[in-house]
Symmetry: C2
Subunit: 338 residues, 2 copies
């Protein structure tokens, strides 16, 4: 399997075998209708017989853009973005596009570097997560000279197209729910609000809505933790308990945090929701399986992927759609934990 052994079949080989010109093969393959029935047949047969596979690099150089779509998410190991990526891939692959995937670990400088690298591929579109970008990212995005889609957020001003939901509203759902359920003293445990603006927005939403719904008589504390893993949830529970006297409920910026807290509560003999109510965010698969099942807010993680893919597809056919905003909804999923 050493490189450089066998010569790859190219379009000119097909042309020769089919007895037509190179240009005709290109047309027959790209726009079958534009070629006579007979030649089309001959060309397809020849291509088949030779096992011809187009060289995408060459095609992209000759064409205006490559059928490559750059997508940048904070993390690949985060189930939220993984679902979005899976859905995007499926829709876009069916149309002949390939995804260039990058992740920056919530580091905006890395995001800028990845965008620059992607731009060098002349992609058909670039998708980034969130509305918060460095000056360099914005410059690189504009230099890429292709449609740009921001996703997973709605609270802010998009550079171009936007597909997402309001994280503030997601938080407000939780805050309102907690107030209505009668939890007046609450805490919000949020992972790295300084680095994750969407988590921070959700936390703010919880606080605002809770204050409104309790008519200002409720108490709420914001507690930040340094990660998204279960261990941080347990830690958050501990902090919340010591910082807030008579704590009645905790909202978390992510389901895994909430599950971690649920485990910790179990260890401490704290009954959920009788002693303490717990509310998550994400509606990950695990949320409906815990004991008790987790009350949470469901973001449209798969829907975002599909909507982004569909937007790009429409957009490439009709450039007028630049600046389009697709609003998706979150949903309050009330189970037994709070």
């Amino acid at each position: 399997m050493a490189a450089g052994t066998k010569r790859r079949v190219r379009m000119s080989d097909v042309a020769q075998v089919a007895g037509v010109s190179l240009a005709t093969v290109s047309r027959a393959l790209r726009f079958p209708e534009s070629v006579s029935q007979e030649l089309r047949g001959r060309i397809e047969t020849a291509a088949q017989r030779l096992g011809y596979a187009p060289n995408r690099i060459a095609g992209s150089l000759a064409g205006a853009h490559s059928p490559l779509i750059g997508v940048i998410v904070p993390s690949l190991t985060n189930a939220f973005f993984a679902t979005t990526l899976e859905r995007m891939t499926v829709t876009l692959e069916a149309e002949g596009f390939q995804l260039l995937i990058g992740h920056h670990g919530y580091d905006l400088a890395r995001e800028a570097r990845i965008v620059s690298a992607f731009a060098g591929w002349n992609p058909a579109a670039i998708v980034v997560t969130g509305l918060d970008h460095s000056r360099e990212t914005v410059a690189a995005l504009s230099a890429a000279d292709c449609p740009v889609v921001e996703m997973w957020d709605l609270d802010g001003h998009p550079l171009d197209a936007l597909v997402g939901f309001s994280n503030t509203e997601a938080g407000r759902f939780a805050g309102r729910h907690m107030a209505r359920a009668g939890y007046d003293r609450i805490a919000v445990v949020c992972s790295t609000p300084d680095k994750d603006p969407r988590a921070a927005a959700r936390a703010r939403g919880v606080l605002e809505a809770h204050a409104e719904a309790t008519g200002g008589r409720g108490k709420a504390a914001l507690i930040s933790v340094d990660g998204r893993e279960l261990g941080c949830g347990a830690l958050g529970l501990d902090k919340a308990l010591t910082e807030v006297p008579d704590l009645r409920a905790i909202a978390f910026s992510g389901d895994m945090l909430a599950v971690g807290a649920l485990f910790e509560a179990d260890r401490r003999g704290i009954r959920v929701p009788e002693d303490l109510a717990l509310v998550g965010y994400g509606d990950l698969d695990i949320a409906s399986n815990t004991n008790p099942p987790l009350t949470t807010v469901r973001p449209p993680r798969g829907e975002i992927g599909t909507a982004v893919a569909e937007h790009i597809l429409k957009r490439l056919k009709d450039p007028d759609r630049s600046g389009e905003i697709v609003t998706l909804n979150v949903e309050m999923v009330v189970r037994d934990s709070g």
Copy 2:
């Protein structure tokens, strides 16, 4: 941000501004040492000032291969492969490579299609998961004419290079552990063994090693479930309990299955491990957080990513390394669930 507005800076622009030839710019950028100190400075300044970013498509057409590396995994939402992908990305991005990521959902026909599509990009290497491929995949892989790395398995014959661990051995660890812990009547709950050969190999390993270690006096049943989610774990527990009288322990083909069973056991008032021991596979973050913490087998998920990336890097410099096999180890992590 409409496409086609501004003309992109290209290498010839840099050459003109720096007052040198195109070729010199190419060399200065690719092999700085091969150009005189003075010109290098002038060229770098010019490139900087113009905001030059190389067109990778053009570079790849002129060169032998593109700095693209195709990676195909079964699923993106599976934490196992996500970790591998994250590590691969980090190592490879630092060397100027981009990853083309595809997923086939354990469907070998889809795998073949993705490999073909990737091959069209003239990638520097292609990475696939497992050793089980369709005839079409093998053909497409060989037509791609680049290094091929198979990963996440070791039980079988590689096409070229291989980076992984023995899934059979991973299962044997669990089976042996269970026998030694005195669990003579066990069940193995395995997700889609027909579609996931690695899970099937692990299940076989458990059965074999358990039979050996109990001197054939143990009893073991294989139970298959139709998914990898927590719900399937609960279902598996139920099936195992009805199918195996006096069941003492269950091994699962994945941690999420085991966690689902743990939740279900809790609901049923089955004490773990007193009434029933549970053993997982994966050592996902959650495994160390459950109540009780989960005994499991840890596969080298991050290590695989790093090792694959490093192999590719070395390989591209030194083609002799074709057919290299990198063996990684699994580890038995004994906690309290079994």
